[in-house]
C-alpha cells in the first residue's frame, strides 16, 4: 500500500491534483451541508453547467480558464439565489433553463473552434491532467480563503440555514450570508470542476452531507463528519482510479456512493438496535 502511494506521488501532476482535490472536497463538503439543508442542491448543479460553458468559451478565447469562469459563475450564483428565493417552483425551472443554455453554448463554441474532441469529454467528466502550476496555486489560495470564511461565519451560516426568519428578525443580515454561501459555492465548483467534470462536481457537494446526515444528529457533527467523509472518499477515489486506470471524477463518486450506502445501513442497524 505504502509502495503504491509513494509511486503515485512521484508524479508531480498527481501530487498537484491530489492537493487541489482534497482542498476542494473539503470546501464542497462544508458548504454542502448548508446547501442541502436549504434545498439549494440544484444551484450547485446549475452552476457546474454554467462553469462548463465558461470553460469552453475561455478555451476558445485562449484565456486562462479560471479567471474567466470564476466571475461568470459567481454572477450566475447570485442570480440563481435570487430566483430560488423569490419562488420555489419557478426557481427550479429557471435553474434548468440556465444549465441547459450554458451547456448548449459551451458545446457549440467548442465545436466551432476546436471541434468536438477529447476536450469536451474532459470538461464533462473531468481530467486529472487539467491543472497547470499557476492553476494549482490559485486553487490552493482560493480554497484556503473559502475554508477561513466558512469557519469565521460558521455560526451565522448555521442560523441562516436553520431559521432564516428568526435570524433576520434578530438583526442578522441574512441576505448577505446567503450571498456569501452562494459565492463560496461558486468558487468551489469552478475549482473542482475540471478535475471532477461538469457533470459530476455537484456530487462532491451533495453526497458527503447526505451521508453524514444518516448518522449524525447535530449540525456541528454533521459538518465535521461530512468534511472527513468527503476527504477520505476523494483520496480513496484517486487511488482507485490510479490503480484501475478509471476516470478520477467517476471513481470518486463511486466511492461516495459506497460511503452513503454504508452509513445508511449503519443507521438502520442502530435504529433497529434501539427498537
Amino acid at each position: 500500500m505504502i509502495d503504491i502511494l509513494l509511486e503515485m506521488f512521484s508524479y508531480t501532476f498527481l501530487v498537484r491534483a491530489v492537493i487541489v482535490g482534497l482542498l476542494v472536497s473539503l470546501c464542497a463538503a462544508l458548504l454542502g451541508v448548508s446547501l442541502v439543508l436549504k434545498r439549494y442542491s440544484m444551484i450547485g448543479d446549475g452552476l457546474s453547467h454554467v462553469g462548463f460553458g465558461t470553460l469552453a468559451v475561455a478555451t476558445a478565447m485562449n484565456a486562462s480558464p479560471l479567471t474567466v469562469s470564476i466571475p461568470v459563475v459567481v454572477m450566475a450564483a447570485f442570480m440563481l439565489l435570487r430566483i430560488s428565493e423569490n419562488s420555489k417552483i419557478k426557481g427550479d425551472a429557471a435553474i434548468a433553463l440556465i444549465s441547459t443554455s450554458s451547456l448548449a453554448i459551451g458545446v457549440v463554441v467548442i465545436s466551432i473552434t476546436t471541434g468536438m474532441n477529447t476536450d469536451v469529454c474532459n470538461y464533462m467528466f473531468g481530467s486529472i491532467l487539467a491543472m497547470s502550476k499557476s492553476d494549482v496555486i490559485l486553487s490552493i489560495v482560493l480554497a484556503i480563503v473559502v475554508l477561513i470564511l466558512f469557519v469565521i461565519f460558521y455560526n451565522k451560516i448555521f442560523a441562516v440555514t436553520f431559521d432564516e426568519t428568526f435570524a433576520q428578525a434578530t438583526g442578522v443580515k441574512t441576505g448577505l450570508y446567503n450571498m456569501l454561501i452562494a459565492f463560496l459555492t461558486a468558487i468551489t465548483i469552478v475549482l473542482g470542476m475540471r478535475m471532477m467534470g461538469a457533470l459530476l462536481i455537484s456530487s462532491l457537494i451533495i453526497f458527503p452531507a447526505l451521508t453524514s446526515m444518516r448518522v449524525c444528529k447535530k449540525f456541528k457533527s454533521v459538518t465535521i463528519c461530512s468534511a472527513c467523509v468527503s476527504v477520505l472518499c476523494f483520496f480513496s477515489g484517486v487511488v482507485i482510479s490510479y490503480l484501475q486506470a478509471t476516470p478520477t471524477g467517476a471513481s470518486v463518486v463511486i466511492v461516495n456512493i459506497i460511503a452513503f450506502l454504508l452509513f445508511w445501513t449503519a443507521n438502520s442497524i442502530i435504529r433497529r438496535g434501539y427498537a
Binding site: L37, V151, I152, F153, Y154, N155, K156, F158, A159, T161, F162, D163, E164, T165, F166, A167, Q168, A169, T170, G171, V172, M213, C216, K217, K218, F219, K220, S221, V222
Partner: protein
Amino acid sequence: MALITCQNAAFAYEGNTAVSNLNFAVHRGDYLCIVGENGSGKSTLIKGLLGLKVPQSGSVWMGDGLQPNKIGYLPQQTAAQKDFPASAYEVILSGRLGTRGILPFYSRVDKKIAEKNIKRLDIGNLRGRCYRELSGGQQQRVLLARALCAAEKMLLLDEPVAGLDPVVTRELYRLIEKINHETNITVIMVSHDIHSAVKYASHILHLQNTQVFFGKTKDYVQSEVGNRFLGITRRQESGGEAGGGEGSD
C-alpha cells in the same frame, strides 16, 4: 419615548390589506397582549413590528434605543425544517447571534445566558437531543429559550403556549411575568387565551383586521368590545350554556 410606535400603519399581502388603522405605542416595561380571532392580522402585525414586513401605508418605528438585535422572537410557525440535524443546545445558543454583530464566535457570556435560559425553562435534559426528534411542545420550549436568549429589551411571542401542557403553560405565564417585572423587559404576546391575557397583561390590543381596541387592561374589561370577546370565549369554554357569563363583569 416609546420603544415601538405605530402610526396609521397597515400591512398587506400582495396588495390585499391584512390589517390596517394601527395606532399604538409600546413603552419600556409594558406587557402587551394582542388578541383577536383567527386571521385577524396578529401574526402579520408581529412581523411588521420586527421589520420583516414593510407597512403598506403609515409607519412603524423603534425608539428608546431599541434595535432588532435586542428583540427575542418566537414565531408562530418556524421556517425551520422538520429534518434538520441540530441539537437543542445549538438552536438555543443561536439566539445570541444577533448580539454578536460581526464577531464570529460565541463568548463565555453568551453561553452563560444560554445556560440560564435552559434552567429557566427546565429543559436541561433536552440539551443534547436532536431538535427534529423532540415533541412539538418540547420544540416550542427550545424555541422559547432561544427567544429569551435574544431578548435584551423586548420579547415578541406569537402564541407561545400553543401546544404546551397546562402545567407548563401556567409556569410559562409566571416566568414571562417574572421576566417582565424583574428585568423590565417589554413583552408583546399574541394569545388566544383571553383570560390569561387580561390576568397578566398591562395593555391589550384587539384586532379585527383593523384596530378595534388599544388601551390598559382594566379599561378593556369594561369596554363593550372587551366584554363581548370575554363573554363569547367564556360561554364557549363552559360548553355553550346560553348567556353563561355575558356582561356579568
